[in-house]
């Protein structure tokens, strides 16, 4: 089965068809076994250059993309806003032209402005593939893919099983969360049912168009869900007060041992990180058997390898346009 992705870019989880998403997850499953081998390297992207362009602080995403690219033998250039010309006021366009001149095959971009990766991909400044590694409060598609991958491993481990009908609760600061949006989009594509749980002030405007249910009451959602995904309260993006106090937020929307006990036996607890222990999640929950938070990080490398391989591994033209006739060839 050859189902090439139809685009050179990965900007939004909404751009992925179910076939695309399943191809990425299946590819990631094969690549995950690489972590257990003595030589954690594959030659697929030898001679390709991947630039990590980070306008915003990040630990795990940047390291994860860097590890993924290096395991596929690509050359990696890390470019962060601090300590570069970006902090001197260079525009995104000039940065893009510079990267183009250096021959970047792909740009992994994180930006504080929603839509920046879209601009980079579509403004005609460069020919590189653009992969969105988080833009403002908009999207973070590879995080959604790694979350779906982690859910699949726990809830649909056999071949042919899917996330169809599985219930996922995404809890917390949905308003500022690109992870929540990308997850809601991708999980809907994959057939899962998403419930967003947050105080009314932390649900975004237009949330009714998200193909997800909403609830203000965590306790009523927990016993029915297969996955509970806790989100960090992004205080750095808050310019007003969205809830009375941290203590009250924790009491109503935090996951502690008492609440965790109401989950079904097979249910798992996820968090995209970084987490604030004691606020949205207590330490004993984060370190419990149900928590797959550390595994999410491991899976992130495999999923990003799959994305890089599928976008860059083959011939350039074929991925974008000739996909159809190639797959019908034999």
């Amino acid at each position: 089965m050859t189902v090439p992705m139809k685009s050179r870019h990965l900007l939004s989880a909404a751009d992925l068809t179910r076939d695309d998403a399943e191809l990425i997850l299946a590819t990631a499953a094969e690549l995950r076994s690489l972590a257990d081998r003595p030589i954690k390297k594959l030659p697929a992207l030898r001679g390709r250059t991947i630039v990590n362009l980070f306008f915003e602080d990040s630990t795990r995403t940047r390291i994860s993309f860097e590890a993924a690219a290096k395991r596929l033998s690509a050359d990696v250039i890390n470019f962060s806003a601090k300590g570069s010309s970006l902090s001197k006021g260079e525009s995104l366009k000039d940065t893009a032209l510079t990267l183009e001149a250096m021959g970047a095959d792909a740009v992994v971009v994180r930006h504080w402005a929603s839509g920046a990766p879209h601009n980079l991909a579509n403004a005609g400044w460069s020919r590189s593939s653009v992969i969105n590694a988080g833009d403002g409060t908009h999207e973070h598609p590879t995080q959604a893919l790694l979350d779906a991958f982690t859910m699949t491993r726990h809830l649909a481990p056999e071949k042919g099983q899917s996330l169809d009908g599985r219930r996922v609760a995404i809890v917390g600061d949905v308003l500022h969360s690109r992870v929540a949006r990308s997850n809601a989009l991708l999980l809907h594509t994959l057939g899962a049912e998403v419930t967003l749980v947050a105080p009314p002030t932390l649900l975004p405007y237009g949330v009714e168009t998200w193909n997800a249910q909403t609830s203000y009451d965590l306790d009523s959602v927990l016993p029915k869900t297969d996955v509970v995904m806790m989100l960090r309260v992004q205080r750095e993006r808050m310019n007003a007060s969205y809830f009375p106090s941290v203590r009250e937020y924790s009491r109503r929307y935090g996951l502690d041992a008492r609440r965790m006990a109401t989950l079904q036996d097979h249910a798992i607890v996820m968090h995209p990180g970084p987490m604030i222990r004691g606020m949205e999640i207590t330490a004993d929950v984060a370190d419990s058997q149900r928590s797959v938070i550390v595994e999410q990080v491991t899976n992130g490398v495999a999923v990003r390898m799959a994305v890089l391989y599928l976008l860059l591994g083959g011939s350039e033209s074929a991925v974008a346009t000739n996909a159809q006739d190639e797959s019908e060839q034999q």
């Binding site: 089965m1 090439p4 030589i39 011939s315």
Partner: protein, 189 residues
């Protein structure tokens, strides 16, 4: 001109031309290969069979079953996907990966028998040798194929061959196996 690789995962066409091997021929060829492997290896000690997906893996399992009938010993069987090591990776759209499963004992200091359905250009086997290099260091590597149809692009030969099949490059050879295609046959057209 290098031959193109057939899409290994798509089912072989049913309407294919002349039948060269039927189910009993395939079975006999695999029995002979199994005995030759044992003879060459002086028993089944330190043997590992690695099939190249998709049909090579089925063949590897069948050979292992036949060896176990003769020797009463289970030979470890695995699969080795060579997609990322192919020399034509850049010329085609990115392909889905197939399973690589290395048996628990690994391949270090073992005699690995690579198993594939058709040997043609030899490029798949070159890729397999590269892939194995990243997994371990076998004591020796042998190659078993159901059909050798000639036209090598590289200095590679098979140690165990089910059927030598003289072909022209214009012809295509289709191997069908029960596990994947519902019946055993080798056809040429």
């Amino acid at each position: 001109m290098s031959p193109t690789h057939p899409e290994i995962d798509s089912p072989a066409p049913a309407d294919a031309g002349r039948t060269v091997l039927d189910a009993r021929d395939v079975s006999r060829a695999l029995t002979r290969i199994s005995h030759e492997i044992l003879e060459r290896n002086r028993g089944s000690r330190d043997l590992v069979l690695l099939g190249i997906p998709t049909r090579g893996v089925h063949l590897a399992h069948r050979i292992a079953a036949k060896i176990s009938e003769v020797e009463g010993i289970e030979v470890p069987v695995g699969s080795l996907d060579v997609t990322m090591y192919r020399d034509d990776l850049r010329m085609r759209p990115a392909r889905a990966l197939l399973p690589t499963e290395i048996p628990p004992g690994g391949i270090d200091d073992k005699t690995v028998v690579l198993v594939d359905d058709v040997l043609y250009s030899g490029r798949t086997i070159r890729a397999a040798l590269d892939a194995m290099n990243d997994i371990g260091r076998p004591r020796a590597v042998r190659l078993a194929v159901l059909v050798d149809r000639g036209h090598r692009d590289l200095p590679i030969r098979a140690d165990f061959v089910g059927k030598n099949l003289p072909t022209s490059t214009a012809e295509s050879v289709a191997v069908r196996l029960t596990e994947h295609d519902g019946e055993d046959s080798v056809t040429i057209r």
